[in-house]
């Protein structure tokens, strides 16, 4: 059993789900606290040193969105949201409010652990050197200083917009970015809600970096929510 330093807070009202998550976390060597209500979650967040928050959106007392907003007032800790399948709107809203990732019920423990590892890695990367000059996933590499992209060691030509989109993904490896957020970051605030341009841009970028754009290895589509740069 690996021992880790991170402490995770599980906020989930169903005891069975709470149990198996706790067990899996223990197996992975994480320390954890559990809370079954929003109120106890908030008091735990204040009294303990929590590194990552695992939050069920459907809590009996508080709206999950409310908890995200309150946490974001004082902390940058990764937040992974758990929700039911037909709550796309809530998912996107949670991500826009500051959540880092989401999982849909029923989720497998393996999947959950993978997501938690990504979030923790993300946390360390940001905590360590904020001004990193290079980042890479698989055969894809980006040099932030030189504004260059490499695929399998070879320099890849990208348009300024494609670079801008790709660098946004590389600054948020593994994190789900909502369409709304990407448009705001890449096209600017005044651009409006037109997703068509973003789809076209993503398609052209995929045609450059993916072997098969409909079976992407790097830029994954989260239907109804947004995109994510794969971390594996």
């Amino acid at each position: 059993m690996v021992s880790r330093n991170e402490t995770i807070l599980i906020v989930e009202d169903d005891p069975q789900i709470r149990n198996f998550i706790s067990y899996s976390l223990k197996q992975e060597g994480f320390r954890y606290f559990t809370a079954s209500t929003g109120q106890s979650a908030l008091s735990n967040l204040v009294s303990e040193k929590i590194d990552l928050l695992l939050l069920d959106l459907g809590l009996p007392d508080l709206d999950g969105m409310e908890i995200i907003k309150r946490v974001r007032e004082w902390s940058e800790m990764p937040i992974i949201v758990v929700s039911a399948r037909d709550q796309d709107k809530e998912k996107a809203e949670a991500l826009d409010s500051g959540a880092d990732d989401y999982l849909t019920k029923p989720f497998s423990a393996t999947e959950l652990m993978a997501r938690i590892r990504v979030a923790i890695r993300h946390l360390h990367r940001e905590g360590g050197n904020k001004q990193q000059s290079k980042a890479g996933v698989g055969d894809l590499m980006i040099d932030f200083d030189k504004h260059l992209v490499y695929l399998e060691e070879a320099e890849l030509h990208t348009t300024p917009m494609e670079y801008s989109l790709l660098s946004l993904f590389f600054r948020n490896i593994g994190k789900v970015l909502t369409t709304k957020y990407i448009i705001k970051e890449v096209y600017g605030v005044g651009y409006g809600p037109d997703t068509q341009a973003l789809r076209t841009l993503t398609a052209s970028l995929r045609r450059k970096i993916e072997k098969n754009p409909a079976k992407p290895r790097y830029i994954l589509t989260e239907i109804g929510v947004g995109y994510r740069l794969s971390d594996e």
Partner: protein, 520 residues
């Protein structure tokens, strides 16, 4: 109730004006002239000057004009008075001849004076009468509006209108209401007598509708009734029926009154209808909220424990060695929970789709992204299978609800995997054909048996695999696919491959017309 007397009196006057002949008025005229003559004879007996007699005659004409209706009696009176004066009071008496020619002037002046007097009097009376009529009409209308405001339903409105019309025009008026689809109701209300209304069956509904539809004048002429349509803001609300014999002789003021009544009735009916509609939509919203709350509660209450069972099962499997008999037991629990979960999801989706309540939020989406999303899910679920994906080089933008189309692809791929050995090839592709995006899911399994082919999209129909129920289908997957594609206005079909063994499912979505979808 409407005050009866002024109306009835008015009705008499209206009738008299039309007929222009009333024994009562003739009697008055004769009586007045006779009285004047008697007084004149009395005056002559006591030797009053003749001028007084002339004045008495003028007075009698004036009174005649005042009491009788119309100009006729006044004018007749003045002529008769002159002749009477000539007959009784000028020498030679009791003849129409005159000895003194100056009397001719007296006659002329007397006639003219009587004429003018009677004309003025009649006109004043006429004006007063008209004013009275108008006032009565106004008050009748006012009362009608007052009563219509309190009416609780369409037939009550019709009843009140019928009663008012019947009283004012003195006939047995009727009113036929139309339903919300613009079709006449089964029966109409008719006034039988004061305070008594009957319902009569409509025999010629289609005839009535036809005659009203083709109407260019204010009313339609039927066998028993003249029909005045009552139009609302959008549709016809009913017709007002006046018996033929009354309608033919109806005067201008009566028609005017009728139009006002129809207008007020239309307003009242319109108001009632819109209130009714508001009420109904409020109820619908309420029901819809109740439904979605219920669905939400059910789905939450079923999904949460199933997610718990599945997660725990997975953890237990991880803890158990694969050779341990416990492993397969736990795996059984996991699979059953998974199956149950899919069933719950499918039933929920289908309930929403079947009701037509599931809002299809069409947005331009990239076909490759939706396929990619579905394939990604399947790879996670079945890592052993190889799924090939083919999309055109050109980006295919299709208006759709991406989440639902993803579900269609997942269901089709799931089907393909269930009916294929693990090393066989499964292929999903999208191409553009004219104005359609055509999605295809191919497998190289056993294909669909001939007996199953016509039933594959039917609810709860599952093909019976030879190996028993080890891989039970849910029997809803394809039904849901069909419902989703239909909701998108597309088409879906399934058949066996012609090039080799295996099944092929194809669905088409329209590429243009996204504007329609968005506007909805």
């Amino acid at each position: 109730m409407i005050a009866a007397h002024p109306e009835e009196e008015k009705m008499d006057t209206l009738k008299n004006k039309i007929s222009g002949n009333d024994p009562y008025c003739v009697l008055i005229t004769i009586t007045m002239i006779a009285s004047a003559t008697s007084i004149g004879l009395l005056f002559r007996a006591i030797s009053f000057p003749e001028a007084n007699i002339v004045i008495v005659y003028l007075l009698s004409v004036l009174i005649t004009a005042r009491i009788t209706r119309g100009y006729v009696y006044g004018i007749a009176g003045s002529v008769i008075a002159t002749f009477a004066f000539n007959y009784f009071f000028t020498k030679p008496y009791y003849t129409f001849s005159v000895n003194d020619p100056t009397y001719i002037i007296t006659f002329a002046i007397m006639t003219v004076t009587a004429f003018i007097t009677s004309a003025l009097t009649s006109e004043a009376k006429q004006n007063a009468m008209e004013a009275q009529e108008k006032e009565a009409e106004t008050s009748a209308l006012f009362q009608l509006m007052n009563r219509l405001t309190d009416a609780a339903d369409m037939s009550e409105i019709a009843g009140i209108t019928t009663e008012t019309i019947s009283k004012t025009i003195n006939c047995r008026a009727a009113c036929l209401c139309f339903d919300e689809n613009g079709r006449p109701e089964q029966s109409f209300i008719q006034q039988q007598s004061t305070g008594k209304q009957v319902r009569r069956k409509v025999h010629d509904a289609s005839e009535i509708t036809d005659s009203i539809e083709g109407l260019r004048t204010a009313f339609a002429i039927g066998e028993e009734f003249y029909d005045w349509p009552i139009y609302g803001r959008e549709t016809i609300l009913g017709i007002l029926r006046i018996p033929k014999e009354t309608a033919i002789v109806m005067s201008e003021p009566n028609k005017r009154f009728l139009r006002s009544v129809i207008e007020s009735t239309a307003l009242a009916m319109d108001r009632f209808r819109s209130a009714q509609q508001q009420q109904r939509s409020r109820e619908e919203i309420e029901q819809e909220r109740y439904r979605s709350n219920l669905l939400r509660a059910i789905s939450h209450d079923l999904r949460t424990p199933l997610a718990g069972i599945m997660g725990t099962g997975e953890v237990l499997m991880d803890m158990t060695c694969k050779d341990d008999p416990k492993y397969s037991l736990v795996q059984g629990i996991y699979k059953d929970a998974d199956w149950l979960y899919s069933l719950v999801e499918n039933i929920l989706s289908l309930t929403r789709l079947r009701d037509g309540k599931l809002a299809i939020a069409k947005q331009p989406e990239a076909a490759e992204e939706v396929i990619g999303g579905a394939v990604n899910l399947m790879i996670k679920r079945y890592p052993k299978y190889e799924i090939k994906v083919r999309v055109p080089e050109e980006l295919l933008i299709v208006p759709m609800d991406a989440k639902l189309i993803e579900q269609v692809l997942v269901n089709l791929l799931d089907n393909a995997i269930k009916h294929s050995p693990s090393d066989s090839e499964i292929c999903v592709s999208a191409v553009k054909e004219e104005n359609n995006a055509v999605f295809t899911v191919l497998d190289s399994g056993n294909g669909i048996s001939v007996s199953d082919l016509p039933n594959i999209f039917k609810m709860f129909y599952t093909a019976r695999p030879e190996e028993g129920d080890s891989q039970r289908g849910i029997g809803l997957g394809l039904t849901i696919c069909e419902a989703i594609i239909n909701a998108h206005g597309g088409s879906i079909e399934g058949h066996n491959r012609t090039d080799r063994q295996g099944a092929e499912f194809v669905f088409k979505l329209q590429m243009e017309g996204s504007k329609d979808g968005q506007q909805k």
